[in-house]
Symmetry: C3
Subunit: 305 residues, 3 copies
């Protein structure tokens, strides 16, 4: 493994090795320790789309492994002055950065950058357009594994909300399929369900949330972007909550020990009720902690290559 | 002590223990050393109101104690995306941050956040609205102590300027009273003097700066925010300087060995003359150095809890 | 040496000592090592003009020498609140910063700041107006030396493009003259050639790029700022490329083993063709790597003083 651009196409043993390493690093994830395999290396955070949360998670992961971190704020950077993305990359490589964490608003932009990278450089996709967010997919899998065990074959999983525009959903689906989940359901209002993409082929779609939840072991909620209202894809936030919000009553339709995931930041009272977000079945903050462990595992794996 | 939200209500021995520790850390404050009790810990700077200066002071304090520092820029953060303050806090906790330095424009916002914090989290108020700025109060006390000794009972202190809107004044008054200062005077134009608050009860108010300065040992100047002019509370900067600016002539009315403090950033020629700001009685830069020591003391104390 | 404000007036042995140290630090420049002579010290990056690239280079140089780095973002800082530049400096000094990297849009602003600095403070000019960019000059010299040897006396060098507005050109010329280059040519369209300054006295000016390139060993390209078009100094980017762009055909007029430098960020297809920028004679990325080494050498030299 040289880059991590997407979970699509990753073999099951590759996925599981990353998850095993993340699990092993879990005790190191929340506090710096002497385990510093990245000492002397420089990790560059290249965010062409703002995201303090994901960037912070990567920054802490890198620091806890002993790396130096360069936050390269693309808003105020040379790309602004007309420099190409590839030239920005090559410049930071020439300064010694060897691991790049890249977020970009366009599908495929991170892959293009990986193609322009020097032989010793590794690129990690921190989210590109609607395409992929592989470390989010991995941290979701780690969280499910911690609650449901490593055998996903008997699990019923529902992904609910704005699947069409979600890179999180795409990365989750790639991982869940590779890990052999038996039943994977997509739930959302019609304008937010995805089109005719290979990623979603063969998955059952539900236009009724109650039906979709029935008997599920894992409920993966998605964030509703405010833009969807402005675009007319969602009529009102109240209506959205009524039909697609995860209330305690609705959650009761899932398995008794179902867990609830959300990639954050949450719109409380829109896609999720307070009582669920903060309730005993929510694993949302565990996801955040696992995010640091997963990013450490990815950085360590790529640095070793 | 778990959080530091205000100096109001802190016992004298608590205050003095913090000041003693800050004094002991003073040699470590301006240069990194091997004293790194926060190694492995993460300090998050959560500034919902911009302040490079205070944030830098906290960042250096944390780094000199060996902590990792996360500057979480609230302007560009998830709070922007509709996330609640408490969710932002919980997310950073879940990433391993255990000490939070928080500035917020609203009175009481930092206290609310402290109530939402996890049991192992400590919150330090870096300024909330007009309410409190406890580390500024502490660094002012440390500076006075270095010049006037630990017994404040014989001191005459004047606080001058925009007291009404000043969290610095409020924190200074709480500390000065606890430390037993004998005479505490408030001086400023009527619209900038405070209303009927307990904090100011029993303190003598002066509408004439010359009278207020008479015989004082400590002169604590406040910054005049430009907003006060726009709000019509101050007529002109020239008029303000004439009536409320600390000129060398005016300072001569105070005790011969009076010291002059200012929390910065200074408006030279508005609330303070160059000759005073840069003169032999000014301890303004000592305040800045003491700020790092005081913040180290607070971080170390709370981390130890 | 206490500050580094300009290369003008630096003696040849001073210049060469810096280049020798940079060359010796070259293996340490791209990866952190145990060579940490700045451990415990604080380097403050004070950028009053945005520049992620130069700031990143200085940040990495400082970190690789073990320093703590404070990025003081002048856009959001106290200078915004009316504080003077000198007060900002003195505040950061009072917090323990002893090495300052300063960029400012005005000629001479960094020199003024150096005059206000405390006795133990060192200031490094990271670019002021059109005046000087000494570390860029040094890294260019280091790059030339690596390819052409330490004796510059036989070299023919051309500097091409917007020389009039370029601090890079001025610093290069000061260094090239001090290092005894035999023939130094200035090439550019008339409105972009410099006026009657001592720096350029006696240097031959070319209004035809082909003639200027003839037989040169070193070709130093400059960036064309988009503002030049808006100001009417350049008619069109296409016309500029036709007359002043470095194409492979044009480069063939220089010596067979000529090297091409560019300070970045490049406007590909404006002042330089892709085939040249990415071709075998380009040393542009070596310049970037040398930039880190040179900045380490400057920081280490000034810290030692």
């Amino acid at each position: 493994m040289r880059h991590l651009i997407t979970l699509d196409g990753l073999r099951r043993d590759q996925l599981e090795r990353l998850l095993d390493l993340a699990q092993a690093l879990r005790p190191n994830a929340l506090r710096g320790t002497d385990h510093q395999p990245l000492r002397g290396l420089t990790v560059a955070n290249l965010f062409f789309e703002p995201s303090t949360r994901t960037r912070s998670s990567f920054q802490l992961a890198a620091q806890r492994l002993g790396a130096d971190v360069l936050n390269f704020d693309a808003d105020r950077s040379s790309t602004r002055k007309g420099e190409t993305l590839a030239d920005t990359l090559r410049n930071l490589e020439a300064m010694g950065a060897s691991l790049f964490v890249v977020r970009h608003a366009e599908d495929g932009a991170v892959q293009s950058l990986a193609e322009a990278a020097a032989p010793n450089t590794s690129i990690i996709n921190a989210g590109d357009g609607r395409n992929a967010h592989p470390t989010q997919g991995l941290l979701d899998m780690l969280t499910i594994r911690q609650h449901k065990g490593t055998d996903f074959s008997g699990l019923k999983v529902v992904i609910a909300g704005d699947i069409r525009h979600s890179r999180v959903a795409r990365s989750d689906i790639h991982a869940l399929r590779t890990l052999g989940v038996s039943e994977l359901r997509l739930a959302g209002p019609d304008p937010l369900l995805p089109g005719d993409e290979a990623t979603f082929a063969g998955l059952r779609r539900y236009r009724n949330f109650d039906e979709a939840l029935d008997g599920c072991d894992v409920v993966m909620m998605l964030r509703l972007q405010r833009e969807r209202m402005e675009e007319g894809l969602v009529e009102s936030l109240e209506g959205y909550y009524r039909d697609w919000g995860l209330s305690p009553e609705r959650l009761a339709l899932a398995a008794r020990d179902a867990i609830v995931l959300h990639p954050g930041p949450m719109n409380r009272g829109v896609e999720i009720a307070d009582a669920v977000a903060d309730g005993p079945q929510s694993v949302i903050l565990e996801q955040v902690s696992n995010g640091v462990a997963v990013r450490m595992a990815v950085l360590e794996t790529l640095a070793r290559k």
